[in-house]
């Protein structure tokens, strides 16, 4: 029976999940954790996660950033070479490569979250180096201090250029950035007035971007007193931000977004659901990791109100499939395919980022998503554990069509297959009762058209 939030109580739902005989922490739940906290997991990673248990697996996800140094260095070098052509579309391919290979999937997932939250599009910025700078800033603070992230974004050249806020003069304060800080980045609608926006804009006067670098032009800064959200003082930009970050609404707004991003698309999380998370967020001085830990170790997260209750975004679909099947492909072409589905990294459609949820699915994107799966399995550039798809069965010691279907379902699907659908997939893989590896592509393409495949 499928549960909704209405069937649960917040007090119970936010308690820690304890595996039991009725609900063991098995490969299915481990796959759910990795789909949400990363893009997906390989069979080996699922075994490891089950061995660690839910708390151990979450701890590993949260601390994997500590082991990133060598990978980061390599990726930075890789990015620098990509920058030589100054083509942000190549950088999008670079980021997909990073998502595929990262040893810290949660860090990468949160980088994607912040990229959607502080939406900045390369289509307007056009400078690959500035987009990379912003991307690396998101990654540095992915699981860390939200306040530092906001202060960083306030000085970020890519963001300010995107919002036409590269100059801000005391005679005529630029309200663009101030508005978005309140509406989209920190508070949400209904927690500020127009006056607050104007006053916050005055705080940022003198903040400029010159030749791709942040500069503070003291001559253009309004030194007078401002009143923002009831607080008064001779605020500069950082002071103004501090006032906003102090608002209870900030913690609630961010935690509400995190809930929607990691738990369920359709649910409306009322304040009683968000409050425990927001409390944790404030208690940790706006540090993100404890909030994520609370989400991923909660009963809510492992309940039927969460499992299979999100629509996979195009990036999760593409990169997730590659990770789950230990596959690699042409990442620049993948980026272009994701553009067709409405989610090319570094190219959000507008300042609000991607709406996500059911907006990923319409009559044309559904076909596009199946075609993406087809493209991935049929593209000669796609290699599965270094070889062709047919050899993957041998590498995974799969001998029968039923085993193959069950294994791929476990790795790729959020919800179990209906019996008749399972039988259909098995039949597509067999001839005279024997497994036909050459039909694997066809089977996966068929699976890619299923409604179950669209869920995360």
């Amino acid at each position: 029976m499928s549960l909704t939030l209405a069937d649960l109580r917040p007090a119970d739902a936010w308690q820690r999940f304890e595996p039991s005989a009725e609900q063991p922490f098995n490969r299915r739940l481990a796959a759910h954790l990795y789909r949400r906290a990363g893009m997906a997991a390989t069979s080996r990673e699922l075994d490891e996660a089950v061995r660690l248990g839910p708390e151990g697996a979450v701890k590993q996800l949260l601390s994997s950033g500590d082991t990133l140094a060598k990978f980061d260095q390599e990726m930075h070098k890789f990015a620098q070479v990509t920058l030589a052509a100054n083509n942000p579309e190549l950088l999008a391919g670079w980021w997909l490569h990073r998502m595929r290979h990262t040893p810290a999937p949660l860090v990468e997932k949160m980088t994607l979250f912040w990229h959607g939250h502080f939406a900045t599009s390369a289509a307007k910025v056009r400078e690959a180096e500035l987009m990379l700078q912003q991307n690396e800033m998101f990654r540095r603070h992915a699981l860390g201090d939200f306040g530092q992230l906001v202060r960083g974004i306030a000085r970020d050249p890519a963001m300010l250029l995107y919002l036409d806020s590269a100059t801000n003069r005391k005679v005529h304060p630029n309200e663009n950035f101030a508005r978005e800080v309140m509406e989209l980045f920190c508070l949400g609608l209904g927690h500020y007035t127009e006056r607050d926006i104007q006053e916050l804009a005055r705080c940022f006067t003198g903040w400029e971007i010159q030749y791709g670098h942040f500069k503070f032009n003291a001559y253009q800064h309004d030194e007078q007193s401002k009143t923002v959200l009831g607080k008064s003082g001779k605020f500069d930009g950082d002071d103004g931000l501090a006032v906003i970050l102090d608002q209870p609404a900030t913690a609630e707004f961010i935690c509400g977004k995190l809930l929607r991003f990691f738990v369920a698309d359709d649910e409306v999380f009322t304040p009683e659901w968000v409050a425990p998370l927001a409390g944790k967020f404030r208690e940790s001085k706006l540090s993100v990791a404890p909030v994520l830990e609370m989400i991923f170790t909660s009963r809510l997260f492992y309940s039927e109100a969460a499992i299979g209750q999100k629509v996979r975004s195009p990036i999760e679909l593409g990169v997730g499939m590659l990770r789950a099947l230990d596959a690699t492909t042409n990442m620049v072409q993948l980026a272009n395919r994701l553009r067709e589905l409405g989610q090319m990294p570094l190219y959000p459609p507008n300042v609000k980022g991607w709406d996500g949820g059911r907006t990923w699915i319409n009559s044309s994107t559904l076909l596009g998503r199946a075609n993406l799966v087809r493209y991935l399995v049929e593209n000669p550039d796609t290699r599965f554990a270094g070889g062709p798809l047919e050899q993957l069965l041998d590498k995974q010691s799969i001998k029968s069509a039923a085993d193959a279907v069950d294994r791929f379902a476990e790795l790729l699907l959020a919800v179990p297959l209906a019996a008749d659908v399972r039988a259909q997939l098995i039949a597509s893989l067999e001839q005279n009762g024997s497994l036909r590896p050459d039909r694997l592509r066809q089977m996966l393409h068929l699976a890619g058209t299923l409604p179950e495949f669209q869920l995360a």
Binding site: E74, K77, F78, Q80, V81, T82, L83, A84, A85, N86, L90, G93, W94, H97, R100, H101, E127, Y211, G212, L322, A327, T328, T329, N330, M331, V332, L334, P380, D381, T382, R383, G386, P388, E390, D438
Partner: protein
Amino acid sequence: MRPLLLGRRALLLWSVLASFMLAASASAADKTAAELLPASVVVFVDVPQPGKALDTVLDHPLMAEVLKAPEYQRALETPQYQQFSAVLRRVEERLGMKWRDAIGGLTRGGLAGGFDLPTRGVVVLAQAASEDVAKKAQTTFVETAQEIAKEQGHANAVRQDEHRGTAIHTVGEASLTVIGKWVVVSNKKPLVLSVIDNSQSQGETLAADQQFQTVSKSRPTSAAAWLYGDLRVLRLTGILRNALNKKSNNPPAEILAGGVLGALPDAPYVTASLDLSASRLKLTTSLPCDPKAVAKTRDFYLGPEAAGKAPPLLRPGGTLLSLSTYRDFASMWRHAPDLFDEGINAQFAEAESKLTTFFAGRNFRDDILGNLEPGVQVVVARQEFPQEGVTPAIKLPAAAAVFRMKQPAETTRVFKVTFQSLVGFLNVAGAQNAIQPLDLNSEKIGDALVVSGVYLPPTDEKTRGEAGLNFNASPTVAFVGDRFILASAKPLAIELIKHVQGGIAASEGTNTFVQLDGKVGLASLAENRGPLIAQNMLQRGHDRTAAEQEIDRALAALRILEGASLGLSVADSRLDLAIEVQLAGGK
């Protein structure tokens, strides 16, 4: 008495017939491929020693690298290859030998092919080591085809009939017959029938064609392969002329191949021969024509009276590619209305108008291009970094073109001023895209005047070791004597100043000559190993280790390429094109 006589007559008749048949098959066995092919064949290819050619190719170290290449490995995984491989295994089983040995035996006497215009058919003739081998090939073909057809549920896929006592087997569109030691395969059965007819001296053969006989006499005996293309039918029907007399919409193609294309409509035939060894592959193509007649409409390409000769080949240090060619760009521009269609001519007119403005009111066609002697020397050379303390992340070679000026004093000033304008324009455009400006310099180096634009180094010192692509360029013009050098990088321009008066002189009749240095090419790629690895990571999704392995393997394979060259020369009655590739590592 009568029955005995009849019997004797019958015996005599049968003996005569048998002798005739034996003689026929004996003579069929002796016939050459050209004597078997019909006269309507317009393309004839002959490979006298296919086994030797195959061994040269398959045993070469380069082939070992090709077999390791990811693209080749992927090709092996395709369903088409898997099917082909399965059929090949069956054939090997039936023959009791590997395919290489089988091909050797089947083509011991040579391999030939033809394209027949009336039937649009292709025919291949392989002369086996013996009649037995040929028969065995036929049997293997038939039995394998029957076996596969039966498995696929098509019981009667192999049809057999006969023509003039010779059996023909047909599967789908492919027909096969054996005549003595010859195994004949074609996709058009009428073509097989013609070959059978000719084997019994019942038809007109290619060998009997006068032109073919004449051309064959001058065929090089040592060539690994030889091609003859009969252009008469195409000429007579006007197909070639109509195709090639249409006005072009491709000026670069006209510059590259206009003279050759101009000669084709009147050429009676074309020949090509391939020399193949472990260290060299050379393709020589010859097109008989009247170069002077061609030059009447394409003097920009061949020169007046087809006497245009390429200037010397320049090879300063680090040269990756050197090209020298006779081209008169002013003449081409003047002939544009005759050569190009309306769309291109409109573009020429627009370009001329803009360029005239750019060159301070001097007519681009007549005053600028017209002041350059026909002939251009182009050099592409590897660059040394850092330059001005900056090393780009991706290191590109520099390129330069050298011209001779007709009126150096005046032309130098015009080009110098125009170059200054260009630098100014680049700086304004660059500023809008946050690109560093070019610092304009003018200096005397020996007798040469050198005007160059060098990018100011990046303000962030940390990026000077991995700078943007634009730092590969320091556009430069140099003037020494009557020579004008236009270069993408200052060091190359300066290097060329020392070389412009010399160079490797072209032999008489050379219209175009190109040389590529494989070692320099490899060094250019090797110094971009990092970017190549990054590109591999992006395009294949590999992690760094796998990407490094693939790139290093590709670079190792390229070590085998020592160099390449291309030469187009003009003789009294023909155009010759020679392309050569030099390889290392062969035995």
